[in-house]
Amino acid sequence: MSEVRVLVGTRKGAFVLTADGKRDRWDVNGPFFGGWELYHLKGSPADPNRIYASQSSGWFGQMIQRSNDGGKTWEPVGNKFVYDGVPGTHQWYDGTPHPWEFKRVWHLEPSLTDPDSVYAGVEDAALFRTTDGGQTWSEMPGLRGHGSGPHWAPGAGGLCLHTILLDPSNAQRMFIAISAAGAFRSDDGGTTWKPINRGLHSQYIPNPTAEVGHCVHRLAMHRSRPSTLFMQKHWDVMRTDDAGEQWTEVSGNLPTDFGFVIDVHAHEPETIYVVPIKSDSEHYPMDGALRVYRSRSGGNEWEALTKGLPQQNCYVNVLRDAMSIDSLDKCGVYFGTSGGQVYASADGGDSWNAIVQNLPPVVSVEVQTLS
């Protein structure tokens, strides 16, 4: 019998939700690390019981926790994130140079093949890696050392590296995204990087089609088509079919194309999901109605999914790392809200249930499909 495990990071701790393959009854365990911010938890594809968690606090800084038993017990591992060499400067909000300063780990991406290898995306934006199960972390300096680094500027949430996608067909290729620098690709295992932002248009920056400076909120990939990426930009939903060489807008009939999350159906690489948010100045759904939008055509034509979701007086947000997909048949879709709900659909989005409510604000949701 299949099992599903949902790892939920919140502003005040982590929660681990489990259910069998029916996904109709959920056990909730936690809080783990109560009172700390859990920006992200993710399990190793090579060993699902190995889970890494980013635990941070404005008071006491960054911790990394590791579990070897599927989230039942945890141990702190290395928390030393020091930039390679002289940190240099990026651009501050007022356009002046500002020294790179480590603040927190936003995203942990375990290797597809090695449980001891993990990539970490951090604020101020940089990419780190461990190959010893999290005991030690080293910066991959080629990204921050890209010539455009001094021109990267923080978004409202900080200068954060929030998305890391590993190409399952090519171990040398990976993609990352930074708010507000844009998307980057490496074809040599992370040694060197190139910006892949052609086709993006951001009206709020001095040069709307600049090579860097775009506030990319999230990238998503289907493992069977790793050269096709989907993007929720600050405004605009985009896609590329050539690994980022050229992006095309696919917002189509969305009621608003501002938002944070985007993800792809486990078995249908042209079926994608977003949660439209009214605007960058309001950060809640339109009309007080929480709606997931699904496109079965890779964008442009979208349908609202509302069954089981609150359709009045709902003013929550859904943050960029707070949507995930299981690989059961039918595919499950999960997302968490700033109101502390985690909603799940066990039928590809047709209907939804809150599988837990009244948690602290949800920052991240990751699902593991266990056989």
Binding site: W36, S57, G58, W59, F60, G61, N79, K80, V82
Partner: protein, 105 residues
């Protein structure tokens, strides 16, 4: 105990006690050299390596902004690392307090 060794009582904030797995109790750290502010912080990190980076920045060893140090009703947060600890702390009559500042939500 040799005359230049000191056992210092330390009160840690709740989150750091949890990380260090010391329950609700005070902890004691041993100083072999001059009993200074920097020496007690070094000793805390040496006794509880999991706390490295939570009180002071790894790189600069500067106090994290929302962490404060108190002893004998004195705020030692802004003192230099070579500042001697108060006599009552050195003699074990008073603890050295690491405090998470009252800030945020």
């Amino acid at each position: 105990m040799l005359s230049n060794e000191h056992s210092i009582r330390v009160v840690l904030p709740a989150h750091l006690r949890t990380l260090a797995r010391v329950g609700n109790d005070e902890v004691q750290v041993q100083l072999a050299g001059p009993p200074t502010l920097g020496a007690v912080l070094d000793a805390i990190e040496a006794s509880y390596p999991v706390l490295r980076g939570t009180i002071r920045d790894y790189d600069t060893e500067k106090r994290r902004p929302f962490v404060r140090f108190f002893a004998c009703e004195q705020d030692l947060s802004h003192e230099a690392p070579n500042t001697p600890l108060p006599e009552a702390v050195i003699k074990g009559k008073e603890p050295f307090l690491v405090v998470g500042a009252t800030a945020g939500g």
